[in-house]
């Protein structure tokens, strides 16, 4: 559960110097990946490395919505690459623990093979995260900062638009019906009142 963006984001932010930016990047990535339910052989983005990469990328650019947009976009790409690395690992695991007629018939043989797979996964996630962070460091030196001002406003609106769309999708994927509609509407009204009050 440390690998959920809503946790991994702020923690990565803490390490890199800005937990609040980390929270934002993590939360938006969380909303984008909520609907990927890990059921059966289905696999979603590899959210842990994605969140760390998103925060690392966000903190390389000027603070504000542009940085967040670029960070989350980079995180999505890393999460997608990560989902393929999980796919390859699962195929590799078949060879490790699921070959027909394989002798998994003593506690030590079974333990060694099973735990090897656990370590392969740890190594995979670490390597992916390191590669993603290295990648963003290289890119950041090659590319100039995007200008602030109007660009930041556009970036903020884009981010808001995509996150709102995604939240609607999330709810639909999990529940539907008039009850759900009404409850979401009540929530939205509450949210608007709170927003006005917070201003």
């Amino acid at each position: 559960m440390i690998s959920r963006p809503i946790v991994a984001g702020p923690l990565a932010g803490l390490l890199l110097g800005d937990p609040v930016a980390g929270m934002w990047a993590g939360a938006i990535l969380e909303i984008l990946s909520l609907r990927q339910l890990p059921i059966g052989a289905n696999r979603g983005w590899d959210t842990g490395p994605a969140a760390v990469a998103a925060v690392a990328a966000a903190l390389r650019w000027t603070a504000g919505p542009i940085a967040l947009l670029v960070g989350v976009g980079f995180g999505v790409v890393v999460g997608w690459v990560g989902s393929w690395s999980v796919h390859w690992m699962r195929q590799f695991n078949s060879r490790l623990v699921a070959v027909e007629g394989q002798p998994l018939d003593t506690p030590s043989r079974l333990t060694v093979r099973h735990l090897s797979a656990v370590f392969v996964d740890l190594f995979r996630a670490t390597a992916l995260t390191a590669a993603a962070v290295a990648c963003i460091t290289l890119l950041a030196t090659a590319l100039a900062d995007a200008a602030a001002g109007l660009a930041n406003v556009v970036a903020g609106l884009l981010l808001l638009a995509f996150a709102s769309l995604a939240l609607g999708v999330d709810l639909r994927m999990m529940a539907r019906g008039r009850r759900v509609w009404t409850a979401a509407g009540v929530g939205a009204v509450l949210g608007v009142i709170l927003a006005i009050w917070l201003r």
Binding site: D105, T111, L115, F162, S164, V169
Partner: protein
Amino acid sequence: MAALGRTVRLRLLLRSLLVQGSWNYRTMQGAGLGFALIPALTRLYRDDPEALGEALRSHSGFFNAHPYLSTVALAALARMESERTGAEQVERFKRAIVSPLGSLGDRLVWARWRPLCALLAFLIFLLGAPWWVAVGVFLTSYNAIHIGLRIWGLRLGWREGREVGHALMGSPLRRLPDRLTIPLAVVSGAVVPLMALTLGGAVDVGPLSTIGIALALAVAGYGRPGLANRLAVLGLVVGSLAFVLLGSSLW
């Protein structure tokens, strides 16, 4: 049956944390199940290495359940093995138990509890709580159910053995996802305007119209999930690329 004491059951519980460790397309959690059952099997077949080998082989075949509820199967299998239930019955039990453990856990945890905890944490953060409070709320609320399910499952499986299906039918677990639907929808709805307040805060058009746009888009996402999903993900990637590549020259 007395052969498996508290310590062995505790070890099953701890090992269940690694049940997904060698997930693969052939046997899925199979080796994980075998691995988690080792403390029970070595105890039961202490004097019979051949039977132990046979049991390990059969228990590392195909298996897949929600990881948090895998303890139900682990404990029920330990119980059945300790009563020397026949291999054919054990196989049929494993084949069937995969079904409720998968769908109960998926409905409760992946489709309700995890999104609810995550969105609640974000909501608290949006309302002004420090980031570490939000993270703390997520971790404690989420893990209360996570660890609770593992312990509950271990007890239930051990008590009921093969008949655990009947107990699962009557368990509050079946109704819980339904009860969480409304809270999940309310929290989802509340997140949108508050998120808009901050993200659109710098915009001159005024926060209320930004909130309106955000809510309209959320409704659109709910109405056309397939299209909206692709649009959001692609849009983010393309949008961020555009900013990185063209950022300074465009503005």
